[in-house]
Amino acid sequence: MGNYVVELKNVTKRFPGVVALRDMSLQIKPGEILGLIGENGAGKSTLIKILTGVHSADEGEMFINGVKQDIKTPSDAKNAGIACVYQELNIVKELSITDNIFINKYIHKKNSKFLDYKAMHKKAHEVMLSLGQDVDVTKPCANFGMGILQMVEIAKAVLIDAKLIIMDEPTSSLGEKEVKQLMKTVRSLKERGVSILFVSHKLEELFELCDRVTVMRDGEHITTDAIEDMDNDKLITAMVGRTLNNQYPKIEGKRGKEALRIENLNSTGVLHNISFTAYHGEILGIAGLVGAGRTETFQAIFGAFPVDGGHIYIKGKRVTIKSPKDAVKNRIALLTEDRKGQGLVLSQGIDTNLILANLSKFTKGLWLNKEKIKNNGDQAVDDLKIKTPGLTAITSQLSGGNQQKVVIGKWLNTDADIYLFDEPTRGIDVGAKVEVYNIMNDLVAKGKCVIMVSSELPEILGMSDRVIVMRGGKIMGEIDRHNEGFTQENIMKAAWGGRI
């Protein structure tokens, strides 16, 4: 018993309408990296929240270093040496990186109650640097992108001498470079004797990093094994309950006519002469490192980011898009990368979120067509395998991956011609990813144009017909699927600044 840092025994947690955890047990050894995987809604985040005192378990026990202990609040967890990087970023955007990193562990001036900002800025900069981020830590977090903020979160956890650091999908919004950096950090933490509970939907990462891996499904413990005894298929089978033949079920369609042409899109300081063409019946991938300006490109096309020049052509005809409304009118759909902030109305039900981008489709005259909304919603929940107690469930109560599916469902309802997918599979499980890929295949088969931004190179390579690589707000090059240069190395090279 004494050889576990933290042990959970027979924990059950219920939410209205669902049992998130059922008789779940988990053991974490000192100095090990334990992987935790499971489908969306399997209960991973809930498990973590019980470890950190955010939720309290309805049943079950918790042991820390073999001693039974109740963790009722986040400060209990902190005192017990448990730190956590949550799936949904917990950043105070108005405050500086330093403030966020030192939240609740401030450095005081000697013998005084006053804060020593000099020391804190210095230390914060050091920590961020050790994570590979040379940033101005005195600036408010609102100035930084998701990648940096994720690192701030990790820095927070690194900074306190925790015995156990929990990371809930820490790599989901990071690019390759940051992921590498993070892995390095995690390993060095392990060397210092810190245990890590690592949650991820990216199997490669688990294989690369973990000592053991625990699989859960439907809130229950399925198996815990040494990583050597596992392989891809075994993991997926344990997780999904069935085998997946192909992680990237690419179906090549027939490239049709020009769908979208961008000419010299400029936004001073952010985007420089972005030009590309996308066609019906193809998936165009956009690769690049975090901060390459891919999100801004999408938002600019969608009328949600200011541009200083450039033209947009749809089906060869020039259009002006000044607002997202114009974009939607021109049959463009944008799946944003930040689902909480920009994708969902969290306080509303699944049904309302599903119809939001195309209200007119669900009205009869002036009135909402409730029947249509319901039928359509039920269909979407079915098709997308959204795990929910009901169609009217409030979206804030869905697990991260299921929220993502709702956003996808919303845009599928628009019958758009051009789909801009910004990190469409962020935070969703392997099984669901395949479903999203199948959806993209369907769209392409119907002759739609899909443009996908992704930081996961295997996904880009697995699903795209063509790939554009961006860096620093510029397009570095383009590679076709049938070109022999269509490799991870080439894309990385371009993303780092080389020409293809």
Binding site: G17, V19, A304, P324, V345, S347, Q348, L356, L359
Partner: protein, 333 residues
């Protein structure tokens, strides 16, 4: 099927409703006059102004906004009618009412524009500023005079009664008009796409905008709607009091309206609230004031009771929600 859901929804508003019932029972015992038909009609009569204003406040609150200019707007609309009557001798009800409605909507529209096109931060500031401007305007248009002598066609809305006979004081038209307005709001909020957009804009403005909805227009509409009902409230005020008194523009009509909405389940963070909850909230406020007058309570007691009821009503609601959630969780399904 749907009606069952509706009953459930209404019962879901049990918190404020419970407060309303408890309050009524207490008052029935404390004052023999409380539960008389005429007094009930009085309560309805006294709910009309606040209820009307509150309906507009509700949609504004749903979008996570606030409109502090409502009372001043209502009084300005009344004063505009007063000006037309006093300075130009106009008694044509169509012109008078038209002018009032136009003023109300225009002011609301400006509030909306300040928020959206001029990018003022939280409408608290812009509408607070607007409140002051309107107070000044109200005084200005009638040269600080209190105007009386409105034609019956104008005062009808605020003072007429249906089925008035014998000792029965009749059902106040103003309340019936308010109910019709409420039904309209219910339909707007629940049965139309615009209603959905209003809730969504309140829940997450950015996500709604990025779904291709012109949120600026939604917000401008919402504030204009609030202005529109203020104009109606202004006409009712003239009917009830017989005068347009510009100096009452500064009166806290806004807090009563906000209180009605919040007691009825709306929230400052937007995305929440129903028109029937607001009705209950407005009734609760009227009932307290009515009951306290019947009991001849002094000002100090009135203040304290109203304060406590505001807190208690919301507390009951919150506690009920928490209990319910706990029960559902323990039931485990």
């Amino acid at each position: 099927m749907e009606s069952i859901i509706n009953i459930k929804k209404i019962l879901g508003k049990l918190g404020p409703l419970l407060a309303l019932i408890v309050l009524s029972i207490i008052l029935s015992f404390s004052s023999p006059n409380f539960l008389t038909i005429n007094n009930i009609m009085n309560i309805l009569r006294q709910t009309a102004v606040n209820g009307t204003i509150a309906s507009g406040m509700l949609v504004v609150l749903i979008t996570a906004g606030i409109d502090l200019s409502v009372g001043a707007n209502a009084v300005l609309c009344a004063s505009i009618m007063g000006m037309l009557l006093d300075k130009f001798g106009i008694t044509n009800p169509v012109i008078l009412i038209g002018a009032a409605l136009l003023t109300g909507v225009l002011i609301g529209c400006i509030n909306g524009l300040l928020l959206t096109k001029f990018h003022l931060p939280h409408p608290f500031v812009s509408t607070l500023g607007m409140k002051n401007v309107l107070c000044g305007l109200a005084l200005f248009v009638v040269s600080t005079k209190t105007i009386s002598g409105f034609p019956g066609s104008i005062t009808w809305l605020g003072s007429a009664n249906l089925f008035k006979r014998g000792s029965f004081s009749g059902i106040p038209i103003a309340f019936i008009a308010m109910l019709i307005l409420f039904v309209g709001f219910h339909v707007l909020l629940n049965k139309t796409a615009l209603g959905r957009a209003i809730y969504c804009a309140g829940g997450n403005l950015e996500a709604t905008r990025l779904s291709g909805i012109n949120t600026d227009n939604v917000l401008i509409f919402v504030y204009s709607l609030s202005g529109f009902v203020c104009a109606i409230a202004g006409i009712v005020i003239v009917g009830r009091s017989g005068v347009a008194n510009p100096s009452s523009a500064i009166s806290p009509y806004d807090t009563d309206a906000i209180a009605a909405c919040i007691i009825g389940g709306a929230s400052f963070s937007g995305g929440k609230g129903t028109i029937w909850g607001t009705l209950i909230g407005a009734l609760i406020i009227s009932i307290i004031r009515n009951g306290l007058t019947l009991l001849k309570a002094a000002s100090d007691v009135q203040y304290m009771v109203i304060g406590i009821v505001i807190i208690a009503a919301v507390f009951i609601d919150v506690t009920r929600n928490r209990m319910e959630e706990k029960a559902r969780r323990l039931a485990g399904k």
